[in-house]
């Protein structure tokens, strides 16, 4: 009985530490994410332009390969394929980078762990926050693109910040878990890199998961994927004009994933926090 109680208390303690470290270090988190942004985008001649050029090139390449190469340019549920693609791939730019970047964040900022006393749980946060800033700018561009294409902002766009927040929270939990584990060993980062490709192709970013609806098993497995939830959530805002609360089952799946990720990150924190400075 006592053992079970201690087990639960240790998780509650870890969560409390996590919250406290975030609350007490807000200014540092913002300052470090700005520093991270500067580091990413200064030092190249085109600087900030890369934040926009890279996604445009990627979108163009996928659109070209699929719409021109594979001749799958038919409208998806009444929307031109290119617009449907943009809606799903823009959140993926954030998530894909957070999945791999989050895995490397603690190793990348090892001097914060081994050379000074710094709250480790906030490293994934500021790392993802800097990417979220770029994501928010690109999202604004997407709104403008849709407007020009004849889809002015609707009331459903109001839920976009919510989806953004859900995405951010999920990726933070993941990054803390993955960052801690990969600080122990580089193998984990390589594993994640290969899985990242699988996640991309199985998440309904390039192709519509509704296409496989006749196979119920595959359809529901694909719909379980939290990345799919976010991508289709963005499409809810721009294309489908659906509220998130009209899809309660999907929201529940997502919450399950979030709870799982959060638990995994707390487990990793409890287990590895004290060992990481010794091995980094």
């Amino acid at each position: 009985m006592n053992k079970i109680k201690n087990f639960f208390m240790s998780y509650i303690d870890a969560i409390a530490v996590n919250i406290r470290e975030h609350r007490d270090n807000m200014p540092q988190i913002f300052k470090l994410s700005i520093a991270d942004l500067k580091k990413t985008y200064t030092g190249a001649a085109l600087g900030w332009a890369w934040a926009v050029i890279k996604p445009i090139v990627t979108i163009f390449v996928y659109w070209f390969a699929i719409a021109i190469g594979l001749r799958q340019n038919s409208a998806v549920e009444g929307v031109p394929y290119i617009l449907w693609l943009i809606c799903g791939i823009v959140p993926w730019f954030f998530m894909g980078e957070a999945i791999t970047g989050g895995t490397e964040c603690i190793r990348r900022y090892s001097y914060l762990v081994t050379k000074m006393k710094y709250p480790v749980t906030t490293i994934p946060t500021f790392n993802n926050l800097s990417k979220l800033v770029v994501h928010a700018i690109i999202s604004a561009v997407v709104i403008i693109i849709f407007w020009f294409a004849g889809y002015p902002p609707s009331i459903y766009l109001l839920q976009l910040p919510l989806y953004m927040l859900m995405m951010f929270m999920l990726m933070n939990a993941w990054s803390l878990f993955a960052g801690l584990v990969s600080a122990m060993s580089k193998d984990f980062a390589n594993l994640v890199k290969s899985l990242n490709i699988a996640v991309f192709w199985l998440s309904g970013i390039l192709w519509n998961i509704e296409n496989v609806k006749d196979n119920e098993l595959i359809y529901s497995i694909l719909m379980l994927n939290p990345v799919t939830f976010i991508c289709y959530g963005y499409r809810n805002c721009f294309i489908y004009e659906t509220w998130f609360f009209d899809q309660p089952k999907r929201c529940l799946y997502f919450l399950f994933w979030y709870a799982l990720m959060a638990l995994m990150s707390m487990w990793a924190y409890k287990k590895l926090r004290k060992e990481i400075p010794d091995v980094l």
Binding site: L32, Y111, M116, K271
Partner: protein, 245 residues
């Protein structure tokens, strides 16, 4: 712990887990069965240091000095035992690292300040003194990755002694740079420990420098304290241990 105590170690042990490969270390996270060797870098150490004291820490390489300093800094954690530290610690551990290589010297000053929780205005007040002390002049606006190791060490030292520490930890740091800069560093350390009542913990192999700063010496061997007392006695013992190898 009395009011005057700034650092206290109570039966502190630090055990490193040594796996035979990184693959085993990764598996060791998930499975308890994976075998590893244990090495006690610090073994049941107890001591207290009072405010304003200057203590030299002697010991051969591998005696556990750096581990002790890391634990005081809060970077590493003890496996068992209790450590209490009371005050802002500024550690001159491995001066050449701890910078963000892509940032300029000036940006690094701000970054370090922010991490320590200082406001922009507070850092701005210290900025001039830090740049002056580091003697980097125009180089201060160049990325740190272009600096030589001597320049990095100078900047590191300048930042750490100028942020008004309460506890100053110096690990071989006074052996950086040329003789002139070394003298300047020693003078600066001397100044802050006397004027601001800063507590100093000093690790060195240079007995003469240690004796000029410290009244108390601790000699470590294989993770244990073998002597804790007046500096002259400690120096004598350390010399004996060192020559006996």
């Amino acid at each position: 712990m009395s009011e005057n105590t700034v650092i206290s170690f109570d039966n502190v042990t630090k055990t490193y887990k040594l796996y035979s490969s990184t693959r085993k270390r990764l598996l060791g996270i998930f499975f308890k069965k994976i075998k590893y060797k244990k090495k006690n870098a610090v073994d049941g150490m107890s001591f207290t240091i009072d405010r304003g004291e200057s203590v030299a820490l002697y010991g051969k390489n591998g005696a556990g000095k750096s581990t002790v300093l890391k634990m005081i800094t809060g970077v590493a954690f003890p496996t068992s035992g209790e450590i209490k530290v009371n005050g802002r610690v500024s550690a001159l551990l491995e001066l050449t690292s701890g910078f963000d290589m892509e940032f300029t010297g000036r940006q690094n000053i701000y970054l370090k300040g922010h991490i320590l929780g200082l406001k922009d205005s507070e850092i701005a007040q210290l900025e001039e003194a830090i740049i002056d002390f580091s003697e980097l002049n125009d180089y201060i606006d160049q990325p740190v990755r272009t600096y030589s190791s001597g320049m990095r060490a100078r900047l590191g030292f300048a930042i750490n002694v100028n942020i008004r520490p309460e506890i100053l930890i110096v690990d071989e740091a006074l052996s950086v740079g040329d003789a002139a800069f070394r003298n300047k560093c020693q003078k600066k350390v001397d100044e802050i420990i006397h004027k601001d009542n800063v507590t100093l913990l000093f690790v060195t192999h240079q007995i003469a420098v240690a004796e000029s700063f410290c009244k108390r010496g601790i000699v470590m061997k294989d993770g244990k304290i073998v002597y804790d007392g007046p500096i002259q006695e400690a120096s004598k013992l350390y010399r004996e241990i060192f020559n006996a190898k």
